[in-house]
């Protein structure tokens, strides 16, 4: 059966994008633009791998990756929220900082290998044809990625806290005047974004390719950033975007292996072009896209007294 393995690969390729993007979505929904996803991700990757190697326990590794992402996010949050520094520049500096620090931490782990995270097979269901392994034979982080998307969707639209968070992103002054602690909400959102980026990194170094080498996230943080926009800040569309991007990446590899005779550069460009095209098409539903765009994105908030 040729479909099943392709689907399995697509899931693996899409999961880190989806994890990082759903975190950034919450951050942006609170009105903060963090361009440091790549830096948080790579720190998540290295810390997850280092801890998993040292303790010989994948779970501890995942937790460490998450915490590392959060620690990076805390630096970012302290600067842009505590000191109202420029968000774009601070995020880019965070990426530089993370790439460097991850290299320092990971130096002694280059050349080490471990086996991937255990798959959580669900007895009975995993044996179903085609969809069995695809739906019920993944590792925990894949399930977690969908749980997070569902959780974020629920949180944003069905809870008071989610309402408060969106209020901060749409108009921080009025959110402040009705008594929401804008900075605290944003800081928590930034931490959540860091945790998700850290998880995405942990998935890279523990499951996708269970090893550590420098710069192994290879720009996926940037793709995640673009996917939030692709999703028009709607949680389920993040999943759609991540899987679209992942699917086209994998399918173009298959296209090459079939020997279609199209230059490799054209094939490689397909996922980028496809996301642009789809974005243009879905952006035509103007009202909805605009309703979800956080109006205060990237603007610092300082309480006036």
């Amino acid at each position: 059966m040729w479909l099943e393995p392709i689907l399995m690969t697509i899931i693996v390729a899409s999961t880190p994008l989806m994890l990082a993007a759903i975190g950034e979505l919450v951050v942006e929904r609170s009105g903060v633009l963090n361009l440091g996803i790549e830096g948080m991700m790579i720190m998540g990757a290295v810390c997850a791998f280092a801890v998993a190697m040292t303790t010989d326990n994948g779970f501890f590794g995942v937790v460490a990756g998450m915490l590392a992402g959060m620690a990076m996010a805390a630096i970012f949050g302290s600067l842009v929220l505590g000191l109202a520094t420029n968000q774009v520049a601070t995020g880019l500096a965070l990426t530089l900082f993370g790439l460097g620090l991850s290299g320092v931490i990971g130096e002694s782990y280059v050349g080490e290998s471990r086996s991937g995270l255990p798959r959580l097979d669900i007895p009975g269901l995993s044996d179903l044809p085609v969809i069995g392994r695809v739906l019920f034979g993944q590792d925990a982080l894949v399930y977690l990625s969908f749980a997070i998307v569902a959780g974020v969707a629920f949180f944003l639209y069905r809870t008071r806290a989610g309402l408060a968070l969106r209020a901060c992103g749409d108009n921080h002054d009025s959110a402040h005047s009705i008594g929401y602690p804008v900075l605290r909400i944003r800081f928590l959102a930034v931490l959540f974004g860091g945790a998700c980026a850290g998880l995405a990194g942990a998935f890279m170094s523990l499951s996708y390719t269970p090893l550590w080498i420098k710069e192994m996230t290879a720009g996926r943080g940037w793709i995640a950033l673009a996917l939030v926009v692709f999703a028009s800040w709607m949680p389920w569309r993040v999943a759609l975007g991540a899987y679209l991007f992942g699917a086209i990446t994998i399918l173009q590899f298959h296209g090459q292996a079939w020997g279609l005779g199209i230059p490799a550069q054209v094939m490689t460009a397909l996922p980028y072009l496809a996301t642009i095209v789809v974005l243009v098409i879905i952006s035509s539903e103007r009202a909805r896209a605009r309703a979800n765009t956080p109006l205060c994105l990237g603007k610092p908030f300082v309480a006036e007294r």
Partner: protein, 354 residues
């Protein structure tokens, strides 16, 4: 402004004069990637460490890693020369023209450029005949494959990679003339995720032996997990696929670097071209593992006959994709033809950009 310049020039002249015969030889290395890439740069850096090991106090080495091939290269190379290095190794093709420009300005400093073709009295080039190893693993692959389909994870279509694919295919065809190959270009030297994806896609299309010309061990891990065979690249990657790595083509620059630094010490350094293969120790085959004894014996025999010069992987008759004879029976491709290879041998179903 002029004054500053004169003063600076004088200071430079002074510092140059101060260098005496007892001073250690200084060797500089300019790397294109991070030394933590576990691939190309990692192996060059291993060569640098071997130089330090071999000469101790008599040598001082320094390096700059992750130097972009664009505008930055010339500055870094020049800084190496300005800082009083006696010999500078620049280890990526993209450094060729910057190295040549700096070499012109510093006639007393020796320069060594890896994989290029521009030379001068103080600029030598060196490269390894990786295609020799590729022929051997092609033979092994054809022996080990049950599906008759080989997978190849490739980086960029430069002559080194193309000649590697051709040699691999010729080796495989020498065992099984009908063998098929599937090639995926990941357009990167270095992106473990994409390399793993490409490896998986190849396996999903029926390939049961993987070879790669990218740097990370990701494809080996996929092979281990999926239960197909694979070959390591640049370094011995057996730790990443203990049950599945058949062998690896290892780059070993240590002997060459030691020899060239020694030549500078002795004052016998001369420019030239070195293209070292199995015989020079620049290309080393990792132990033949996870295969039946007779396959390992065959591989060892081929290795020996290439090393001794008895056999050349590009021996005619060789046909290109269009079926035209490139060289006839008994002839051998010239080094120049191999070094600038931009065509596939017959039997490869893939298209090269032109």
């Amino acid at each position: 402004m002029k004054k500053v310049f004169v003063a600076a020039a004088a200071a430079f002249a002074l510092s140059a004069a101060a260098a005496s015969a007892d001073d250690p030889i200084r060797a500089g290395f300019v790397y294109v990637g991070p030394i933590g890439d576990h691939g190309w740069t990692y192996q060059h850096n291993a060569g640098r460490l071997a130089v330090e090991e071999a000469f101790g106090d008599k040598v001082e080495t320094s390096y700059v890693e992750d130097v972009s091939e664009g505008p930055d290269a010339e500055r870094v190379i020049r800084q190496m020369a300005e800082d009083g290095h006696d010999i500078v190794f620049t280890t990526s093709f993209g450094f060729m023209n910057p190295t040549a420009r700096v070499a012109e300005r510093f006639p007393d400093v020796k320069f060594e450029h890896a994989t290029g073709y521009r030379r001068a009295d103080n600029l030598a080039t060196y490269d390894a005949r990786f295609y020799e190893g590729r022929y051997i693993i092609g033979q092994i692959a054809a022996q080990m494959s049950e599906s008759g389909i080989l997978g190849y994870v490739a980086s960029y279509p430069i002559p080194e990679v193309v000649s590697g694919i051709n040699s691999y295919m010729l080796g495989a065809q020498s065992i099984d003339p009908d063998i098929e190959i599937r090639i995926i270009w990941v357009n990167s030297w270095y992106d473990p995720g994409r390399e793993a994806d490409a490896a998986t896609a190849l396996i999903d299309q029926g390939a049961d032996v993987l070879s790669q010309h990218t740097d990370s061990p990701a494809a080996l891990q996929v092979a281990q997990e999926r239960g197909v065979y694979a070959f390591g690249q640049a370094s011995d990657m057996i730790r990443f696929a203990p049950d599945r790595q058949l062998t690896a083509i290892v780059d070993d620059w240590s002997d060459y670097y030691i020899e060239r630094v020694q030549a500078v010490m002795d004052g016998t350094w001369e420019s030239g071209v070195v293209w070292g293969g199995l015989d020079s120790g620049m290309v080393v085959m990792a132990p033949y593992t996870n295969m039946p004894d007779e396959v390992a014996e065959m591989a060892a025999e081929t290795e020996e006959s290439i090393r001794s010069g008895e056999f050349h992987p590009f021996t005619g008759p060789i046909y290109n994709q269009a079926g035209e004879e490139v060289i006839g029976e008994g002839e051998v491709l010239s080094d120049e033809q191999i070094h600038s290879m931009d065509w596939y041998v017959q039997g490869i179903e893939d298209t090269l950009p032109n």
